[in-house]
Symmetry: D2
Subunit: 480 residues, 4 copies
């Protein structure tokens, strides 16, 4: 997953991009980058690591100009790689352009093959390089038309920010998988994956960029268009469930309130009568746990404490001391749990290994019953639209019943939210505006060949491996 940020028309564009990326750090902790334009020249700085570590004062000072775009990137399967860091920045027939991309293309492999056959070279594995090639090869007259032509060839998820010497262009794919919002800070326009970035820099929220919309901002102001054929919407429901920051407003809804509603719905569907208290797996499970408590009347309490010091290169001692993973991050509060029948709310189960450790930790701390409640349906299908889920083989719900999973994670009971309940909670009972593929298998982009896609999205250039980057990076890890 990734986060993107753009600003144009502000004398401190790079500084604000830096703050904006910090606010979006939860969307990607592997690498970060900023490109600035002073009207003539694009300058960029990108590195592996966290925003706060990468951008020193001298680095920011060199990123001159009143326009900038930035990107934070999540560590995908296959290792962290500097060559995949964004924004990409190239010279092409139209001058200079840079791009920051959130999302994943599903026809990357075939586009890449076509381009390669036509003489293109690829220096990274990123889908984004495909988009750049398509733009560079377009014979259209303007940058906007080139972008439109290029994007008409790609299928999949993309929220994109382009910066040229004098234009900032924002595009969201016709389904609107990944979020993007527009704001204003005095005389400048701001674009960001989530509203939390607007809030931090005290920019005013104007509106969401619509699915399929292209916005161009330059010296003539802002103009908008809908260059793609209309289609149904497919906003990623997992952003609501887990990925977005709770203080953001996403797809018109408060993320925090949506998650609390998931918990309320979950309490209706999967009650835990007789339980003594409801706790959350912090921090992502907290809103749903509070919602569950409100509906069920079972008191909410804190049974697990999250450490603030995990996520860096923690060396696990060898030999007989092992498996400290989850324990280094979470500690159980004995006095809260002792002798209690506990409902523990989490947002999802991926492989099941983390859930198993948590349940065991709760029981070791004295809980007499552990009722695991998940504020989303079973994660059965991989996401091909930008979230780094493992293959079906590793997704425990792909191959096991809820009963089997409960047994594996050693929970007394296990309850998932239903797909209907999920839709209801997010205000789209029919689920016409959301993509629920990870739960339902309904991939919106049509005739998918999962095997091919997996190959295409994970190993587009299977043979070239940059070894410079650290192997493991800190941060929010979906694949728990």
């Amino acid at each position: 997953m990734c986060g993107i940020f753009g600003i144009i028309g502000h004398p401190e564009a790079s500084n604000l991009a830096y703050l904006g990326l910090h606010a979006l750090q939860h969307r990607g902790q592997e690498s970060a980058g900023i490109v600035s334009s002073d009207g003539n020249t694009l300058r960029f700085h990108r590195e592996m690591g966290l925003v706060a570590d990468i951008f020193t004062a001298p680095a920011l000072e060199k990123l001159l100009g009143s326009a900038a775009i930035g990107h934070v990137r999540y560590s995908t399967a296959g290792g962290s790689q500097l060559k995949n860091a964004q924004p990409l920045c190239v010279e092409y027939a139209g001058g200079q352009m840079s791009v920051a991309h959130n999302g994943n293309l599903v026809n990357a492999q075939e586009l890449r093959q076509t381009l390669v056959a036509d003489g293109a070279i690829f220096q990274s594995d990123a889908d984004t390089e495909i988009i750049i090639h398509l733009i560079a090869r377009s014979r259209q007259s303007t940058f906007e038309k080139k972008v439109t032509e290029a994007l008409s060839k790609v299928k999949g998820a993309y929220s994109l920010l382009f910066l040229t010497q004098n234009q900032l262009v924002a595009v969201r794919d016709p389904y609107g998988f990944r979020p993007m919002v527009l704001g204003r800070l005095r005389n400048s326009y701001v674009l960001a994956s989530e509203t939390t970035a607007l809030d931090l820099i005290e920019a005013e929220f104007i509106r969401e960029i619509e699915a399929g919309e292209m916005v161009v901002i330059d010296e003539h102001g802002l103009r908008t268009s809908q260059p793609f054929p209309p289609t149904r919407q497919g906003r990623c429901i997992f952003e609501q469930v887990y990925f977005a920051k709770p203080d953001s407003v996403l797809f018109g809804t408060s993320v925090y309130e949506a998650r609390k509603e998931l918990g309320r719905q979950l309490a209706h569907e999967q009650p835990a009568p007789g339980a003594d208290l409801v706790i959350a797996v912090p921090d992502s499970g907290v809103p749903a746990a509070i919602g569950f408590s409100q509906v069920s009347g079972i008191p909410y309490d804190v049974g697990l404490i999250r450490s603030h010091y995990v996520g860096r290169t923690f060396i696990e001692p060898q030999q007989s001391i092992r498996h400290f993973g989850v324990k280094l991050k979470l500690s159980a509060v004995r006095q809260v749990l002792k002798g209690k029948r506990v409902v523990v709310v989490d947002d999802s189960i991926v492989r099941g290994t983390t859930s198993r450790k948590i349940v065991k930790m709760l029981k070791a701390a004295g809980a007499v019953e552990v009722h695991l409640r998940i504020s989303s349906p079973p994660t059965v299908w991989p996401c091909y639209y930008g979230i780094d889920t493992p293959s079906r083989q590793e997704l425990i719900a792909s191959n096991h019943t809820t009963e089997e999973i409960a047994r594996y994670v050693t929970a007394d009971t296990l309850g998932y939210l239903s797909l209907e309940g999920l839709g209801t909670a997010v205000g789209d009972r029919e689920r016409n505006t959301f993509c629920t593929a990870c739960f339902s298998g309904k991939y919106l982009t049509g005739d998918l060949n999962p095997e091919a896609i997996e190959a295409s999205t994970q190993h587009t250039a299977p043979g070239i491996t940059l070894l410079s980057g650290p192997e493991e990076l800190p941060g929010k890890q979906l694949l728990a």
Copy 2:
């Protein structure tokens, strides 16, 4: 503030010390160190920074032996300094010894002057070097007796771990200001500032080290004594209010439950009738907020989200963009707060500047009323026993009434817990076993001259300044 950990009798002593220090990281983020003994030789490694960054696999491998002590240190006023990192490790008449110290002496200045006049040299500002000198100069026959003689001369707060080639000695001052617990892991004994360190390594909690107790562990096993004249107890109440980790059991009480009780008591004393919801300043305010909610019946909710990515060297952009401090760490959840009358619970107010920013942030996010509730009494007096409070001049409650503070922080109402309520909540209504000096001004160590103490605790060696260390370090900052 500092955290200490010791273990003897385990083949992976250093690895376990490393894990133990990680669990105690909240007690100090400036520097960390471990000393090990293999029976003949003490080896040490200490650096500025976080436990997870300092101890690489090769570093740990070199810390041979089945006994180890470790230390994490908090950044005190005056800058981070490697020379003050612990454990200290020296050669003296009795061989080799090392020491890890949590606490602060109140007669440091006069002891230092006496020692210096007698030919001692000091290479650091730490009180701990005084203790080492006193031991080295003792003419007593055994290490225990030397330690006893040395400590009979010092006044103040100390929980100490000593490691010699073949003994681990633990001492707690007669008042018991700073915590220390004893545990067992198979055939080894473990000592730690808090039980959370025992829990992480799955050691069994045996008991608290008593105030004034000395425990000696060596090949002959464990023996205990009470070498100091008895006195009243003075366990630091601020450990319960703020400092300790919520999953720890401190002074026989669950920290989490104690804090929740503070919130309950606060709700009785300082109700906020008509409020719509109770929120916490995360993470330390959460238990009290939940307690407040339980008693008041006002629903608990999450109005402030804490970022996981703050605390490193975040460069604030210069020029017109400023004052992002609190905003980089906390974001307000608009949809929760909008139009609401909000009770916000925090553990303490030090200078008032952070509270002011938080209240303003809540109002900017739409809260129509903000009722600030503090789960402890006003912090009026500096702590001379190990917590890094600023001078009286900077403590807002030293010089202002509650009304003035409320006005300054722009809260609609402000309510502190009473001293009586605090005592009641922690199970000592008379406050006979706690030190409450920061709230009451009753310093237990007698005839204190605050001016002299401030000089002694902050600038024992005023002229020598090591410039190697980073100026600012991440971490839990009391002095908000």
Copy 3:
């Protein structure tokens, strides 16, 4: 300037590439990289800095396979840039390829424009990316034919090593500007810029790669061809004068012996009768100084000592203390120089500032006369074939007579070697096999437009600037 190294058929290919690059470190200190192939996959590691710092044991271990190429790069005008580090490694229609390039193209700008107009994108400023695009766009059937077609379009200097999954291809341009040699180490073939790299790894020297030769090595062995139309040779004479390592054999001649011969010839042409001793500007001036001494009979001695600790990021103190540049690197030996008439031999004068400082240093140390002798002709013209000379405006000999230069550098006399003498010394009196453009202005590649070339070689992509790299890097600096 750059250095390249390749090996195929050895189980420790990457380790040997690492050693080989270390031996070639004098050819470039800005960045270094290695690509390996295990038959299926190319893996690469490249960074800014010195070979010994970049390649740690874990980094080398990951560079699997029995074939590898490597590159060291010199800091060119415009700042160090990671994006320009080599070898480049791409996916293209034929699979994967990587390339390491020593040299400079003179038609880079027009090729780049053509490619860009045809839809190519450029991510770096390096000429090398042009070559890769040309190969990727070739419709030829084999890699060799693609390379041949691509190179038939470029003009300028190139010694190239290509590594694909299963082939190592070496090419030298028809003029043979930059050196390249072939060696053998047991069953493996080795290619390197200079023989010193063969010597270090104890590989046997087979022969020089000829000008215009292409060598392909794969599982079928080694085959050679001459795919380009024949032309006159143009081996860079400045390699002999200054750039190559003295223990190398270059273009069939010992570099050390050639430089000594330059000194001998210089002594004939520019004697310094009455001088007391001959000293060198170390280290590059030593062989010529010894030659000068041998012919003139004036004793050779050491008047300047070179520090081993310069070249890193030495911060020059500000304020009144300044201009320590040359003094930090060289110290004068007073007792050798005092009262003496000194001949000081250097290889070239570029801007004149360093020579001026050296002459002044010698006089401050007591030399009563300083006779500066240069073992090459005046450097009047910029090199467009890979050596980073400044523009004509900065070349002191472009705009000043020898007398004016002598006066500027404060030498009592100044004598340059003649062009004829240079030719004679390197065994090519007619200078038919060497490029002497920097001295003579005779650019072999024909109708040059110096202005266009300067633009093309220095700022191919004028607008895109990567700001990640350090601004200044250590090393051998031609532009003294």
Copy 4:
């Protein structure tokens, strides 16, 4: 070995100390430090590594004041240790003091035992800490008198610089083992191990500090005394042979000229009739080789090239590729050596392993005969006065005849300079003013017990080992 530098009375004291230490970097590459005084406060910065890496601009800016002392330290046996870095900086009865020490005490062990028995604690292994303790315990009235009293108790080699808040004190032991010179820069006084440091900062050389002299510089100016009983001089002859920088003037003699004279004398004593050329082991063997050439008439030439890029953390590849040590540093010039009978001049043989590799390298490059000539007598005895020689067991000349050594190093002939010749060459035929213990076994400090001394100088605190430092550091390595 170590280097020291001091300055008082200059507004840029720290900057000049930094430059001075850079000039003395050849005397120690393990760690460096500077202490400054602004009249009230001593500030220090010390780290492992090279001067140019340790002192950044911000670090230097914080070292306020017009007086400063600095120290560079050599890596002794037992590993690099930050705790041993100097200058030491302490608070004691007289206020603050710091000290930089070059040399080694021979009664360190007994002094340390006495101090420890009297209650002193030691935090490092350095002799220097003993001196500080002795000063701190002195009951004398002034700092000078305290220093005098303290030093009257120590035996061995010391050139010392002390900086207090307002005094700079320089002392050289009565034998004058280690050098120290006095200079002037405008209104400031400068002290340094060697004149090369004065030259770099353009300070005027006044005179050498005499053996047994104490110089005190403060606001009242400079005053000198001879506080110790007179004794014979014992200037370290190995400084002349190898250690000092050739451009320095040492003990009144030019180091370069002295070394050349060693070569001349060597040519008389150990001629190599019939040899074709004389080469040096660079850089230290160069002056003697030139001298040898001058006397013998055999031409001097360059047969070995020294790399500028060795000395950092070079990882030698594992497995079958090994033993690149000397080859990474030196390359042979084939065309110079091929078919030649070569005299190779080096300054000393320690273990013999390096000499062996060099001889083999010369023969592999084609030399038909190699005649090794050493410009000093056999190194038979360990140095207890500050040079880090290995124990007798490892000194090849302790246990082998010259013939055996010749055979081991595979030289055709091997010739050492005689002790008489050495004395003659340095202008003291009777060797009354030099210490020649490493060659002669005549230790000037009397009744030495080598076993005890070894223990005392190498492992004063045998049990305490700091593990923070890098295990191996770059630099001039005596123990070849």
